[in-house]
């Protein structure tokens, strides 16, 4: 069983760098208005999430939808336990795996095999256990002799293959993904797609933030629409997508550049 419960959760970022004046210019455009506040010490705070109360249960495949800056990534990071909320509470049960950037922890000087072990370490998997999976990973990447060469000699596509395969070799209870992971050439993409499907299928909860509506429709059974750090809709994927598209018609200036 896995679950994540959020209660009245808020996240505020203090911004320390840069002069206030230029920050104001940079940050004040409409999409962020209402999210900026100054505290007693005159620092600028961005309220990335405000008053989020939501329950993620077994079997939930959640699509996180919203414009840039709506708080999708921040919410994912809170769910992953990376950001500790400034207010409210989060309570989670289950092994969380976050696939935000595929290449996290990749050391370009180390060989492919070493990087597989290394990636496992950052996923809290003991090198011993990772070694038992290394052959499966090696076979899936189809990198052959390259696995014993330093990753810096790899092409971009090759290193994505390696990172993707290593980070998807252990099915988690709770799977968090930011955007879709594009991995290598068309043939590998197909393989990766299938592997991803298996992984999602064996996880209890999946949360996917993406702007690709077909993808969200394919994978998800629940949609959460975020706007300025608040949940404005929590329903089926189709409802959430419809609401997202409606709101982009009302405020076209805020919509995504395709």
């Amino acid at each position: 069983m896995a679950f994540i419960r959020l209660r009245n959760l808020s996240v505020e970022f203090p911004i320390y760098q840069g002069s206030h004046r230029s920050l104001k210019k940079l940050l004040l455009p409409a999409s962020l208005q209402g999210n900026l506040a100054r505290d007693r010490m005159d620092r600028i705070n961005v309220r990335a999430l405000s008053d989020i109360t939501v329950d993620l249960r077994d079997g939930d495949r959640i699509a996180l939808i919203g414009y840039n800056g709506a708080g999708k990534t921040t919410l994912l990071k809170v769910l992953a336990g990376i950001f500790i909320p400034t207010r409210g509470q989060i309570y989670a049960h289950g092994k969380v795996s976050s696939l935000f950037a595929v290449n996290v922890g990749v050391n370009p000087e180390a060989t492919g095999r070493e990087n597989i072990i290394l990636r496992g370490m950052y996923m809290d998997v003991h090198p011993r256990e990772m070694r038992t999976r290394i052959d499966e990973v090696a076979a899936f990447t189809e990198l052959g002799p390259y696995l014993d060469m330093p990753v810096r000699t790899y092409s971009a596509g090759m290193s994505v293959r390696l990172a993707f395969t290593a980070s998807t070799c252990i099915p988690p209870d709770i799977l968090l993904m930011d955007e879709w992971i594009s991995a290598g050439d068309a043939r590998f993409l197909e393989k990766a797609h299938k592997r991803m499907a298996d992984m999602i299928g064996s996880s209890n909860i999946m949360v996917l933030a993406s702007h690709s509506m077909p993808l969200l429709r394919e994978w998800c059974n629940r949609g959460i629409l975020l706007q300025q750090g608040r949940i404005v809709l929590d329903g089926t994927v189709d409802e959430a997508i419809a609401a997202y598209q409606r709101s982009s018609e009302v405020e076209p200036a805020l919509s995504e550049p395709a």
């Binding site: 009245n8 970022f13 209402g34 506040a37 007693r40 509470q89 976050s98 996290v104 809290d124």
Partner: protein, 337 residues
């Protein structure tokens, strides 16, 4: 909307952390509950309006009643969360030791001698300094060289822990932002890496002590508790400097500068006796105390009277102060970097 001054009051706190629940969470290893800890510090109680607070409380109870089936456990205190971070970090010793090894092997990948370059560069430094400064201070080689060797080896550890400590969290920024790990893992990685380097350097010590016939006695075993204390000092320094540097980017250059200056004002390559009547006050410098409790026993001498006490007091104060700051600011680290 921009607004000045204190923000409205936070929601009322829940009951203090329940111990049983917390232990279970920690052993399970995949079970976490997090609270908004940074809040109390920023909101003055002066702004809290009593009736406002009462209203919020009733709101909360109504909300809670509405989802009685999905109640959350009592909020954990920031102190217990910070403590769990440290304990969980220690329990992942396989992780930070492997990361530390990785740091070392990566640095020397492709070189013939590998990490023994550490040993060699230290040996060259000792030989060069020893040759010149024994003349300068008019000391005999068989006294000066062992003195210099032990001092430099310990100093190398202490100074490097402090300099690297500034980057405890900064260098792993992308990891902290991508996966949840206890923050203390990064601190222990730093200490472990420097202990490995120390182990490479320390092989020079017997090579110098034995040929010169230094009268080492049983009190050389004092080195063991001294090294344990140094490792503890390294841990709190890594966390403290790591947090300070994450928040204030001026800290790393300040520390680097400080370390350079302290190297010259601490008797490492010059004998303490050279200071004359001031010499008894030397242990007031905790960095001298740290070197003295290791150097003196290895040279067959006794540490200066207050060296041990100064080191122990520094360790205790450092641990307490760092823990207090860690409790308060641990929730902010991920936002700072």
């Amino acid at each position: 909307m921009l607004h000045r001054g204190p923000r409205p009051t936070r929601p009322p706190r829940f009951a203090p952390g329940d111990k049983g629940e917390r232990r279970k969470g920690f052993h399970n290893g995949c079970f976490f509950a997090i609270c908004g800890a940074g809040e109390r510090s920023r909101l003055g109680s002066s702004s809290t309006n009593r009736s406002q607070l009462r209203n919020m409380k009733t709101d909360m109870t109504q909300q809670q009643a509405a989802r009685a089936d999905l109640d959350l456990p009592p909020l954990r205190s920031p102190a217990s969360a910070a403590w769990d971070d440290l304990a969980e970090g220690i329990s992942k010793s396989w992780m930070w030791s492997a990361m530390a090894m990785q740091d070392i092997t990566m640095r020397y990948r492709g070189s013939v001698l590998g990490p023994f370059w550490l040993t060699i560069s230290m040996a060259i430094m000792i030989a060069a300094l020893g040759l010149i400064y024994s003349r300068l201070f008019n000391m005999e080689m068989h006294r000066y060289l062992p003195f210099l060797t032990v001092g430099l080896v310990v100093w190398q550890f202490v100074s490097q822990v402090m300099i690297d400590g500034c980057h405890t969290f900064l260098v792993v920024q992308n990891i902290i932002h991508q996966v949840r790990l206890p923050f203390s893992v990064h601190a222990w990685r730093n200490v472990c890496r420097n202990l490995i380097i120390l182990a490479h350097n320390i092989v020079i010590v017997p090579l110098v002590i034995i040929p010169f016939g230094v009268p080492v006695g049983w009190n050389a075993l004092e080195v063991i508790p001294a090294l344990v204390l140094l490792a503890i000092d390294g841990s709190w320094l890594s966390i403290l400097l790591g947090m300070l540097s994450a928040r204030y980017r001026d800290v790393p250059p300040i520390v680097t500068n400080f370390v350079q200056v302290v190297f010259f004002i601490t008797p490492i390559f010059w004998p303490p006796e050279a200071l004359g009547v001031w010499a008894p006050y030397l242990p007031l410098n905790p960095l001298f105390a740290a070197i003295d409790v290791i150097r003196a026993p290895l040279l067959g001498e006794h540490p200066m009277p207050y060296s041990w006490s100064v080191l122990v007091i520094t360790t205790v104060l450092g641990c307490v102060a760092t823990f207090a700051l860690f409790v308060k600011f641990r929730p902010r680290i991920a936002y700072w970097i």
